[in-house]
């Protein structure tokens, strides 16, 4: 018996001493090439700066992670896990699985000072119930990607206003070119279009009110968004058969010169360039103004790191989060990712016109929306996006769809 107790004590001794030596377990969903490389780099750098910490890094498959995180936060919590901002983290915050890291936001303890100042524009999307629950480290812009050569050939200049935009579509359509390509098989691309129409017609506050369930879907302001959408859908300015295509498949007509524009995130640039487009014939512009005077808010989905509340080594986890918030670190990560750093003191990769345009746009943005499916709760988002897809195929069903979404809203947000 005594022996057992002694060996038990020894075992605990070993366990506590190993965790004391500083093993930091990090789980990420960075299975794609660039994100994986970025984390490899960043973890190496962190270990160099903190020789007393050994990082144990588990890479999960990007899609599988959405399932795994729900399990490992409870059963086998790491010390740091990556996730997304906005309502996407709400279930974990509500279930008490993420640690409150407001103290890091108040005073990060680094020379470039207070996080709230350098990342003020991203703070809102990290805040639930007045507290911050993680650190954002990268985001990317959404907007309109277009074929410069097709615009020039048809005498179109970059549209700044809604009327210009609709006129450009009409010109392209008349020239036998599909004005806007989209692949809505996986639904979320439709939400990008809806969000922008909504942000430009009604503004950021209304977008948040809608995704937070404060306004009905039958509201005249929502109707106004669909009135604008009608102007694109009814004349057939979107790619036909979009419901059968993934977003990648919908790139093909654009590469072939059969379609001119795509309302998309910056991640579309890489495959478009791989398919043969160059900076000379691929361009980017901000989604045009619809209601004059409404401040321009943008979509900028943000990736974040969090500390699970059941983590064993919270001290080093906090060091890692502070490290991830630093301007120089964010600069390096985003150079590898080809995305934009959140910290205002970071600079971006030179010579990439898309990142430059994105940085310019986001730094001047009135506010950042996360994306319909990250700002709205999952059930609302899924029904909403199904509705958008149905509307885009059958614009005359608008009223029925909005009434159905309103019914869902009343159930989801009660």
């Amino acid at each position: 018996m005594k022996k057992v107790i002694i060996s038990l004590i020894m075992m605990f001794g070993i366990i506590s001493s190993t965790s004391f030596a500083g093993t930091l377990v990090i789980n990420t969903d960075t299975s794609d090439a660039a994100p994986k490389e970025a984390f490899e780099y960043i973890i190496k750098k962190f270990e160099e700066e903190n020789p007393d910490v050994t990082v144990k890094w588990n890479v999960f498959d990007h899609e599988g992670y959405k399932q795994s995180i729900r399990n490992f936060l409870n059963t086998d919590p790491p010390d740091v896990a990556n996730w997304y901002a906005g309502n996407r983290m709400l279930p974990f915050v509500r279930a008490g699985l993420f640690e409150d890291v407001s103290d890091i936001w108040k005073d990060s303890g680094w020379v470039d000072g207070n996080l709230s100042e350098n990342m003020e524009h991203a703070k809102k999307s990290m805040t639930i119930g007045g507290k911050q629950w993680g650190i954002p480290y990268t985001y990317y812009q959404w907007g309109v990607y277009y074929r410069k050569d097709l615009f020039t050939a048809n005498g179109i200049s970059v549209p700044k206003t809604w009327d210009d935009f609709v006129a450009a579509c009409a010109t392209l359509k008349a020239a036998g070119i599909t004005p806007i390509t989209i692949g809505s098989k996986y639904l979320w691309t439709t939400a990008g279009v809806f969000d922008y129409l909504n942000l430009r017609t009604n503004g950021y506050e209304f977008h948040m009110d809608l995704t937070l369930g404060k306004v009905p879907y039958t509201d005249p302001k929502v109707q106004a968004v669909f009135d604008k959408w009608d102007e694109l859908v009814k004349p057939g300015y979107f790619l036909e058969n979009h419901a059968a295509l993934s977003w990648q498949e919908a790139l093909t007509p654009m590469v072939n010169g059969e379609a001119a524009m795509y309302v998309m995130g910056n991640f579309a640039v890489a495959p478009l360039k791989e398919a043969g487009l160059r900076d000379s014939n691929l361009g980017f512009f901000q989604f045009p103004e619809i209601t004059p005077g409404i401040p321009m808010a943008e979509e900028a989905p943000t990736d974040t790191v969090h500390i699970p509340s059941k983590a064993k080594n919270k001290t080093d986890a906090k060091r890692f989060l502070i490290f991830m918030s630093r301007a120089d670190v964010q600069e390096e990560i985003n150079k590898i990712l080809g995305q934009l750093p959140i910290n205002k003191n970071s600079s971006v990769k030179k010579g990439d016109p898309f990142l430059k345009a994105g940085l310019n746009m986001l730094n001047n943005a009135y506010a950042m929306a996360q994306f319909y499916d990250r700002d709205a709760p999952a059930q609302m988002a899924s029904e909403g996006m199904k509705g958008f897809q149905e509307y885009m195929s059958n614009p005359d069903r608008r009223q029925k769809i909005l009434e159905r979404l309103e019914k869902v809203r009343q159930k989801v947000y009660k």
């Binding site: 279930a95 098989k185 419901a243 159930k411």
Partner: protein, 306 residues
């Protein structure tokens, strides 16, 4: 007899009951695993259907709320209706499989190779078939695009149209299912009694008459099995839907099994209670069918024994 046997007196309890007990011992592993992995989950998931639960937070008892919501859910009815379409059109696999089996049931050079080519689709994974048919249906550059152009449906996408998507998936599903029925019938045809056919011929039966009255009755067991596996295949159709449309466009090609997955386990789901309610409905439908099937089997066997 037993009294004459000197050993009979020393018979142990085990030896006495061996015959009665040993089947249960052999059945035990199967029974234990069946109850842990099949029976128990049925009751657990029926239980969950009375709760609101996201898999993380504590669950809240809501009584019949999930079922009431289900009754008011447009997508549920669409899925149910699609399941019915599956049941009806998936049945085509049985006669087509039978036709092919009869066609292949001849002795010529290389027939084994041809037979194996015909049931090859059954060996290919459903996922692969789904993927390939999605490419077939691709507007403008899919295999069937020239045909669609010919009948004046240029650029028509079968899977993007709410009226045709389900039929497109069922058609893809038929491809391996026909092969399955074909195998069942080929083995059935092997066991046909040639004397009966001979006798039928002598009585002047020919062609369809011979087939209908002499061959088909002997294939009764194969037919029964083919119908059973086809019905089950239709009710649990999931992989094809997941691969080809994910229930789209806007939920119009959904079936109950996939809708349950979407609500309970997909990226936007985690409504375990609601998903379980859908599963329970699907289970009830299957249960009716299975009970009917067991009853028929029981009756048939009694007839056979008499």
């Amino acid at each position: 007899m037993e009294l004459n046997n000197p050993k009979a007196k020393r018979i142990t309890w085990w030896q006495k009951n061996q015959i009665k007990i040993s089947p249960w011992i052999f059945l035990a592993p199967g029974l234990i695993f069946f109850s842990i992995y099949v029976i128990a989950p049925i009751f657990v998931s029926i239980g969950i259907s009375f709760y609101q639960w996201d898999g993380l937070s504590p669950s809240i008892y809501v009584g019949l709320q999930n079922y009431i919501e289900l009754l008011d859910d447009e997508y549920f009815y669409i899925s149910l209706w699609n399941n019915l379409k599956w049941l009806i059109f998936f049945m085509l696999a049985v006669p087509i499989g039978l036709g092919l089996a009869i066609f292949l049931n001849q002795i010529v050079f290389g027939i084994r190779l041809i037979k194996s080519l015909f049931f090859f689709p059954f060996v290919i994974s459903q996922v692969v078939i789904g993927l390939i048919f999605t490419w077939f249906y691709q507007p403008n550059y899919g295999v069937i695009a020239p045909f669609l152009n010919f009948i004046g449906l240029e650029g028509f996408s079968i899977l993007a149209n709410e009226n045709t998507a389900t039929y497109g998936i069922i058609f893809a599903g038929l491809y391996p299912q026909i092969a399955y029925c074909l195998i069942l019938y080929l083995t059935g045809l092997n066991n046909i009694n040639p004397e009966q056919i001979e006798a039928g011929r002598m009585d002047g039966a020919k062609g369809f008459h011979l087939f209908w009255n002499i061959v088909l009755p002997q294939l009764r067991h194969a037919t029964f099995l083919a119908i059973v596996v086809t019905v089950i295949g239709a009710l649990r159709s999931f992989d094809m839907v997941a691969i080809m449309t994910q229930g789209g466009p806007y939920g119009y090609s959904n079936v109950l099994a996939y809708y349950m997955f979407e609500q309970a386990l997909s990226e936007y789901g985690y409504r375990m209670g609601y998903g379980s309610a859908i599963a329970t409905v699907l289970f009830t439908i299957m249960m009716f069918y299975i009970l009917f099937f067991i009853y028929r089997m029981y009756r048939n066997e009694r007839e056979d024994n008499n």
